[in-house]
């Protein structure tokens, strides 16, 4: 439990650090972005919205940095991430709220599946090292070096088309209205298959390689020899002794790589015009929509922290050494 509390404290600290970083980012923006915005939406901005923007950008000169910082936190706690320029006058929180479920579902599910498949294959490759499976390593190395989004482009080129089952863009059939019904859900799944496959193929290799190496390393531990000496079945030695231990560092690796993976998946969304965070990030970048960018960064960071916490929980359950003594 102590371990877990420590982790929670760490994530809170990191969240604080990320939010503070987020506070400073717009203060780096040269010039007065709010003025240009006011000019752009002449007369459409309420005084309140303008004030909120000034707080966000730290341009309310009459206040000290500290007071600005406090105001920023106050806004955050009200769920106010400012207004988007691109989708003006929608609040950033609303736009992110629409996009987040798409990303979480696509990236979350795919990443977990990729981890499970990769780990499984890695167990196999590590256990059977020296056999034909070693021949697959160059292939997996190559695939793990390919950028996600490029593979996406190739997939679109090769697999989509007028007669293809796979749609080349979007998150659902544009003729449909998002709803939990028998039309929308299958369409959403159909649209997610190719992006998911892209992420899967380019990320699975990394898991195969790391799990294989952990298996090889663990296989020469004494307790594996003991397991063989005990006359246990091959399966039990491989799974319950070797893989079970090799899994632990791989889970830490999983938690720590999430930040990297998210970066790659954002681009897959862009390539597939998938209505998630990556796609709106691209639009935000094009329009220099700082509030939206900031909001997306914050949400991604917090999602990654939550995912890390979940991975920690899994670790806690799998490694008795981290549990309370007794």
């Amino acid at each position: 439990m102590k371990y877990f509390l420590q982790r929670i404290a760490f994530y809170l600290f990191t969240a604080w650090a990320a939010i503070t970083l987020n506070f400073f980012i717009p203060r780096l923006v040269p010039g007065d972005p709010v003025q240009s915005l006011i000019a752009k939406f002449r007369g459409q901005l309420s005084t309140e919205a303008i004030n909120s923007l000034y707080v966000l950008f730290g341009l309310d000169d009459d206040k000290g940095l500290w007071a600005q910082y406090i105001d920023y936190w106050k806004q955050l706690f009200q769920g106010d991430l400012g207004l988007s320029f691109t989708f003006f006058p929608s609040p950033v929180s609303e736009i992110i709220g629409d996009a987040l479920p798409w990303t979480v579902t696509l990236v979350g599910i795919t990443t977990v599946i990729s981890f499970l498949i990769g780990t499984g294959l890695g167990v196999f490759a590590g256990w059977r090292r020296g056999s034909w499976t070693d021949g697959l390593l160059p292939v997996t190395t190559f695939f793990s070096s390919v950028p996600y989004f490029w593979l996406g482009i190739i997939a679109i080129y090769l697999l989509t088309g007028p007669d293809s089952f796979f749609p080349s863009s979007g998150g659902f059939d544009s003729a449909l209205v998002p709803a939990w019904d028998q039309y929308f859900i299958p369409s959403a799944i159909q649209h997610s298959l190719l992006p998911a496959l892209t992420i899967l193929i380019s990320s699975v290799s990394g898991w195969i390689l790391s799990m294989r190496n952990m298996m090889v390393t663990v296989s020469s531990e004494d307790y594996i020899t003991v397991a063989h000496a005990k006359g246990l079945s091959e399966r039990r030695v491989a799974v319950s002794y070797a893989a079970r231990n090799a899994l632990l560092p791989n889970i830490s690796g999983f938690a720590l790589s999430l930040g990297f993976i998210v970066g790659g998946t954002l681009l897959v969304e862009i390539v597939f015009s998938y209505p998630g965070l990556g796609f709106i990030l691209l639009q935000a970048l094009g329009a220099k929509d700082y509030p939206l960018m900031q909001g997306i960064f914050l949400v991604i960071t917090i999602s990654v922290l939550v995912a890390n916490l979940l991975a920690d929980l899994a670790y806690l359950l799998l490694d008795p050494r981290t549990r309370k003594e007794g």
């Binding site: 296989s219 030695v237 720590l256 998210v262 790659g264 900031q294 997306i296 960064f297 960071t301």
Partner: protein, 360 residues
């Protein structure tokens, strides 16, 4: 686009300290081993490919058959003798763009790798060696940087810094990607610090910078090298990413920019596969070469990972067996002695005893 740690030197098993700590207790051996490193096929192959990339990074812009920006009337032409990789919508030569784009990629990759490596060495070794409060603070710092998603952060910073140069991009990537290596180095330093010869140096009051410079660093070479290579891979992919979403267009051609234009001009819809395939393959082969070097470093540091070599053996009776953990192969189970030495009584009168055959 990911840098999943596949390296065992990068894996830190909790409760067991650092895995695969380099066995550097014998500096005399180091030179021979460094030489042996090149005997590793993966290392050799990786280094040769990397060498080619570096070569093209240097001479690329001079040997391009066309000016990569020059337009021509050959619009969207498939590969031909004139245009090896075909042309773009403006009739630009894709081959020239790929060649010209090699330099920024290699430059940003290596510079960012170097920045991140220097940072990680300073932070990781300081934390591991000094311990205590310093360690707590530095570890917290690197863990924060570790979990904050680097790519989105880079994207936002780069986009704020409008029209960033390659130098600035390398700086941004380097400053956001040092944490993983710092963590690994900290763990390795911790485990090295507990070794006898380091403890002995500390006990005799040797100066800290001497211990770090002459005892710690040489033993961390492989880990540092592996971290550097890993960061170069990451930096290359990051640059490509930034270029692909079009926020570094000011920095000239690189493979990401090519892909950006290909994507923006609907190269796919026009069937212009040659527009995006070469740049993608260039990235993939560079990444593969760097990964191979890292695998070789890994095997070098942790012999357990070394390729098992030949694993199929012939038995005396002509069958084959495989080497595997848990069941040692038996080549022959005849009870004949191998060294055919026979008991020969020694005569006290001095006659020399004779053995049929003397074993090696």
């Amino acid at each position: 686009m990911t840098t999943i740690p596949t390296s065992s030197t990068a894996q830190v098993i909790p409760g067991q300290g650092a895995m695969a700590a380099p066995d550097g207790a014998k500096p005399a051996k180091a030179k021979r081993q460094r030489f042996l490193f090149l005997k590793n096929k993966k290392a050799l192959f990786g280094l040769i490919i990397l060498g080619l990339y570096v070569l093209f990074a240097i001479i690329g812009p001079w040997i391009t058959p066309y000016d990569p920006d020059a337009r021509s009337n050959d619009l969207i032409q498939p590969p031909s003798a004139d245009h090896w990789f075909g042309t773009t919508h403006l009739g630009q030569d894709v081959f020239s763009q790929v060649l010209d784009g090699t330099r920024p990629v290699v430059f940003v990759g290596f510079l960012a790798g170097a920045i991140a490596t220097v940072l990680s060495v300073i932070i990781g070794i300081t934390a591991g060696y000094l311990g205590g409060k310093t360690d707590d603070a530095l570890s917290a710092l690197s863990n924060v940087f570790l979990v904050i998603p680097a790519v989105p952060l880079m994207i936002i910073i780069t986009s704020i810094l409008d029209s960033a140069s390659n130098l600035l991009i390398a700086l941004i990537i380097g400053l956001t990607s040092w944490s993983w290596n710092a963590r690994v180095l900290r763990a390795q330093t911790l485990s090295l610090r507990r070794r006898d010869y380091i403890e002995a140096s500390r006990a005799t009051g040797e100066k800290t910078w001497r211990i770090v410079g002459f005892e710690l660093l040489p033993n961390l070479t492989a880990v540092i090298a592996s971290g550097f290579i890993g960061t170069v891979i990451f930096a290359v992919l990051s640059l490509i990413t930034l270029a692909f979403i079009g926020i570094v267009s000011a920095a000239g051609w690189n493979w990401g920019t090519i892909l950006f234009w290909a994507q923006g001009q609907q190269a796919l819809a026009q069937g212009a596969w040659w527009w995006f395939v070469p740049a993608g393959l260039a990235i993939a082969f560079l990444g593969t070469a760097l990964s191979l070097i890292n695998f070789a470093i890994d095997e070098f540091v942790s012999p357990r990972l070394r390729s098992a070599g030949k694993t199929k053996l012939k038995t005396a009776s002509g069958g084959t067996v495989r080497m595997r953990i848990g069941f040692t192969p038996v080549l022959s189970n005849s009870a004949e002695p191998h060294t055919q030495a026979r008991a020969i009584p020694i005569n006290t009168d001095g006659a020399t005893p004779v053995a049929r055959k003397v074993g090696k």
